[in-house]
């Protein structure tokens, strides 16, 4: 079976397998710069769909365009870190040099300029993708040089940057789990030696839990997939690292692709799966060849394919699916939908993916870091792993550090490190507000700097559980602007299916704008808290549930800051109502 057909169901040969739709759309997007009406109709016919269904898929992903773009498509990152590093100046520079405004295409079809949320380069912002090649640490002069070079015929591939890995810290005394030397095949050989049951036992002992941020015990997931009778089964690697400020998976793919592949193989071997799929976010297309090379190498060595790793009857193949620009596809069930060639709308929890996942078959989905950790744990054994970290939270954790610090990059900390220690390591500059685990995570103030980072006390929230990122903001930064950036992000990235997330994010943003304009009073803060709680309780997936958590926490933890922003004279009359602004449109008819 050809690798690109992995996942197609046998016996339904007539219409093309819908899982290929995203790839087909990418082909057209790459060749002509957009997807035309004719493309839509052709594809609809090929996949036996109504045009509107293809249209629905195209319009869901923001890297697909329905109008012609250009030879060079620039995606400038507008995440909050980029904003603090000079986003506005860089955008102006791009606009000046290309002669077009953001969101436009120039007349000659040479340049198109768009904005996109975090592209996983927060340690080297401002950054942009041009034809999906990375350009980092931008400044106005560099922008000018890039545009001139492109005009003069250079290809983005030839002038792009190779982003630094910036691995700043590894747990000392040879305690690094992820970045020690990895010998091809070693982890898989060990798994074969101890057998599937022992793999699960080892993961149980070492308490490995989902590193995408959900902290679900990995052994439980693998075990329930193992016990499913249906076949074939799938192992899916979630490499859709969309949480702004997070870039650990990027660095893992750059440096540890082999341990990732092996983690997936061990999982496949343990649960009895045949196919592996890596769902790679489109922002990381420039990393695709690294994964492809490793997969090729593994195949050549007989580690992937039929009877792989010398295990009779263990056939395992891995393919890569590139996403097309959607944060919510990092949610596991949305990712499944996307893999099936649909809009990335999270499913209801009617079935769990281990019961009915990809193509309604048993599926294990884990994050890049989880697979890498699993491979390493099997390789080094439970005993060695348990020596690292703290009791109840063994091992290490990768943290992407960015923002106002001297040494942004990847920190492999032992679980149990305090915030203060980490801030010292990265040489944070006058830290005031720290966003942990991205906009959907929690924010902390310096009053909490002695909190540990661990997997313990998830409910009491004594320790900080961290999905993988620390964004540091100093006292000069405007909190409301940070939170507005987040709310804009959620408003755009909501899949749009459930009411509280689709409408709620919009409503909360309006409220924040009120606050920003000095129109809010104490009652508005209360409302934000109460509405945020409603969104948390009613949203369909994690996106909506967590989208207001930072905001609510910020109001609590930085109350003085918000207090100073309020309209204190409010006495039932909204005197700050800006009559001049409201009548400005009409004034132009004054003769």
């Amino acid at each position: 079976m050809a690798v690109s057909n992995i996942g197609s169901r046998p016996g339904k040969a007539k219409t093309e397998f819908r899982g290929n739709l995203l790839d087909e759309l990418w082909k057209r997007q790459d060749v002509s710069g957009f997807i035309s009406d004719a493309d839509i109709s052709t594809l609809a016919q090929r996949f036996n769909l109504a045009d509107i269904e293809v249209e629905g898929v195209v319009s869901f992903y923001h890297f697909f365009h329905r109008k012609p773009t250009a030879r060079f498509v620039i995606y400038l990152n507008n995440s909050i870190i980029s904003e603090t590093k000079g986003f506005v100046r860089i955008r102006e520079a791009f606009e000046r040099e290309t002669g077009i405004m953001t969101g436009q295409v120039d007349r000659t079809g040479t340049f198109a300029l768009f904005l996109t949320p975090c592209i996983g380069l927060s340690d080297q912002e401002p950054a942009a993708l041009i034809n999906f090649f990375p350009f980092t640490n931008l400044n106005a002069i560099r922008v000018k040089d890039i545009i001139t070079a492109l005009r003069n015929g250079a290809s983005p591939a030839s002038i792009c940057d190779m982003p630094e890995n910036n691995i700043r810290y590894m747990a000392p005394d040879d305690k690094s789990v992820f970045f020690r030397k990895f010998i091809t095949g070693s982890a898989m050989a060990r798994a074969k030696e101890i057998g599937a049951a022992a793999v699960i036992e080892t993961l149980k002992q070492t308490q490995l839990a989902g590193r995408g941020g959900a902290n679900f015990p990995t052994w439980k997931k693998w075990q329930s997939a193992m016990l499913q009778p249906a076949a074939p089964k799938y192992v899916i690697c979630n490499a859709d690292e969309g949480e702004p400020g997070t870039f650990k998976d990027r660095v893992l793919i750059c440096t540890q692709a082999a341990s990732l592949i092996e983690g997936m193989m061990i999982c496949g071997y343990t649960v009895g799966a045949q196919y592996g799929i890596i769902y790679l976010r489109a922002e990381y297309r420039w990393l695709k060849h690294i994964l492809e090379d490793v997969i090729k190498e593994y195949k050549e060595k007989g580690l992937l394919g039929k009877d792989c790793a010398g295990i009779n009857g263990f056939d395992f193949e891995i393919r890569i699916q590139v996403g097309a620009g959607s944060y919510v596809c990092g949610e596991e069930t949305a990712l499944l939908e996307s893999l099936e060639g649909k809009r990335g709308e999270p499913r209801t929890k009617w079935f769990f993916p281990v019961e009915r996942g990809y193509m309604q078959l048993p599926t294990v989905i884990n994050n890049v870091e989880t697979f890498c950790a699993a491979a390493r744990i099997i390789e080094m054994g439970a005993a060695a792993y348990l020596k690292i970290g703290i009791p109840g939270s063994p091992g290490t954790k990768l943290i992407s550090v960015s923002g106002d610090c001297k040494r942004p990059g990847i920190y492999e900390i032992e679980w149990g490190m305090t915030v203060a220690e980490l801030l010292e390591l990265c040489e944070a500059e006058d830290p005031y507000y720290i966003q942990v685990s991205g906009p959907s995570g929690e924010c902390i103030s310096m009053k909490e700097k002695y909190r540990r980072i661990s997997m313990l006390d998830l409910l009491s929230r004594k320790d900080i559980r961290c999905g993988g990122s620390f964004m540091i903001f100093n006292r000069q930064r405007d909190l409301v602007k940070i939170l507005l950036n987040f709310s804009e992000f959620f408003k755009k990235e909501s899949c749009g299916v459930c009411t509280p997330c689709r409408a709620g994010s919009f409503i909360i943003q309006r409220k924040l704008e009120r606050l920003d304009n000095g129109l809010a009073n104490e009652k508005d803060l209360e409302e934000i808290r109460s509405w945020g709680a409603i969104m948390r309780d009613t949203s369909r997936c994690g996106l909506g549930k967590t989208s207001t958590s930072s905001l609510i926490l910020a109001i609590e933890k930085f109350h003085d800051y918000f207090e100073a922003k309020l309209d204190k004279e409010f006495n039932g009359l909204n005197l700050k109502f800006d009559m001049e602004a409201a009548t400005k449109d009409y004034e132009k008819y004054k003769t």
């Binding site: 045009d51 509107i52 209801t348 909501s494 749009g496 009411t499 409408a503 009613t538 449109d585």
Partner: protein
């Protein structure tokens, strides 16, 4: 043989067949869990509207995506949950541009019904007024995107004979809308088109030509409602007029049509009581232009569309102890907000410059220092001043108004009938 299990809903023990849908099981046992997207035979359930949010084994989640299991403990009617569900429906009103008085489906609309059922008189959220399309292009239908709540029913249910979709979500985030495939829509039979219209819980899918099957005013939900009246538990003791001190009321119509003031007159014989109990100060009814004294109650009809409205409204806030927004326009902007999604200049130029009925040679937009200045959009009263109470309706039912006024001024207990509580 199906297995029976025991579950608890609000403490009540219920025996039900294992694996059945919680909303249905609750309904069969006389417990109403509000829901909008839920449609019994769609499986897996859609779980899009989130109106059926309950607490299931201590965890908040929608009831419609739960299967009944042994020992399940469900909370439905706690104060917090009731408020949460109300908030979700309010969000739908705030997000869409739902103008009930101008809607064909009014009186026959699930969303409106849910609003009545939950007693929503105003939304806590500011309306978003997003510009949305009314799509006349389909052969049989009109897609009124202002009214769509994205419940997904039509996306999943409406298919052509060969299984092609007719509706699908387009875009994402706050730009999401339900698109219609013109080609496939044309292939639907008349009957299928009608079914699609009926499937839609609001007035977003309207079949062209005849076809409102029931006449206006025939309101099926008045008969089907769970909630026959509001506040029905209070035993109502009418106060004697002699016990009730005389109160002062001021009224005004801002960006309204005076319809709410007209409705006031419909209390018929109670007008005689009213004359005894109330003096009107500043009001179009008395033609008193200026406040002569502080009033107990101010009644506002209409939202704010110009600078003068704003000044008047502020004046009312300053001179009245209690301020009531009367009617849809005062509550959230109402009909005049139809212009809110369109830039002011476009509206004015359409009306005064480009209109076909425009007098030739008369090409100016009125502007004079004596004319109130138009605002960029129509504002709800509560965006300008604090509003204490809301009476919805277009116009509100006369009895509703009078009962509310009596309650506010003299504390007389009241019970508003379901049929007196309306948005249109």
């Amino acid at each position: 043989m199906s297995k029976f299990v025991e579950i608890k809903i609000d403490g009540k023990v219920i025996r039900a067949e294992e694996g059945r849908n919680l909303v249905t099981v609750a309904k069969e046992n006389g417990i109403f869990i509000p829901s909008l997207c839920y449609y019994e035979h769609i499986e897996p359930p859609l779980g899009t509207c989130r109106v059926c949010t309950c607490r299931i084994n201590g965890k908040a989640g929608p009831a419609c995506t739960e299967r009944v299991m042994e020992g399940m403990d469900v909370e439905v009617n706690t104060e917090t949950l009731k408020d949460t569900r109300k908030a979700i429906v309010e969000m739908m009103f705030a997000e869409g541009n739902h103008i009930c008085p101008a809607c064909e489906k009014s009186g026959n609309c699930d969303l409106q019904h849910m609003g009545y059922e939950l007693g929503i008189s105003s939304t806590r959220f500011q309306h978003l007024f997003k510009d949305r399309l009314i799509d006349f292009k389909p052969t049989r239908m009109v897609m009124e995107h202002n009214r769509c709540i994205k419940c997904m029913r039509c996306v999943v249910e409406v298919k052509t004979a060969d299984g092609k979709s007719v509706f699908n979500y387009l875009n994402r985030g706050n730009e999401t809308y339900v698109g219609i495939d013109y080609q496939q829509e044309a292939r639907l039979s008349e009957e299928q088109a009608l079914q699609a219209m009926q499937l839609c819980p609001t007035g977003a899918i309207i079949v062209k030509s005849d076809i409102m099957p029931k006449p206006f005013g025939d309101r099926k939900f008045d008969l089907q409602s769970e909630q026959k009246d509001y506040n029905s538990n209070e035993s109502i003791v009418r106060k004697r007029i002699s016990e009730m001190g005389k109160k002062k009321i001021a009224t005004i119509s801002l960006a309204g049509c005076f319809g709410c003031h007209m409705s006031l007159l419909d209390i018929d014989t109670e007008l005689l009581d009213m004359v005894e109990l109330v003096t009107f100060d500043k009001s179009p009814l008395t033609d008193i232009k200026r406040f002569s004294t502080r009033c107990h109650l101010g009644i506002i009809e209409g939202g704010c569309c110009n600078a003068e409205n704003i000044e008047t409204l502020r004046l009312f806030r300053e001179h009245c102890d209690i301020l009531v927004a009367l009617g849809e326009c005062a509550v959230w902007g109402g009909l005049p907000t139809m212009r809110n999604t369109i830039p002011l200049s476009e509206c004015l130029e359409e009306a005064y410059l480009n209109s076909v009925t425009n007098e030739p040679g008369n090409h100016i937009v009125p502007y004079h220092e004596d004319l109130p200045k138009l605002l960029d959009r129509v504002y709800a009263c509560n965006e300008i001043v604090k509003i204490d109470y809301y009476i919805p309706g277009c116009p509100p039912d006369a009895n509703h108004i009078w009962k509310a006024v009596k309650n506010l001024l003299w504390g007389e207990a009241y019970s508003i009938l379901y049929s007196e509580f309306k948005y249109d």
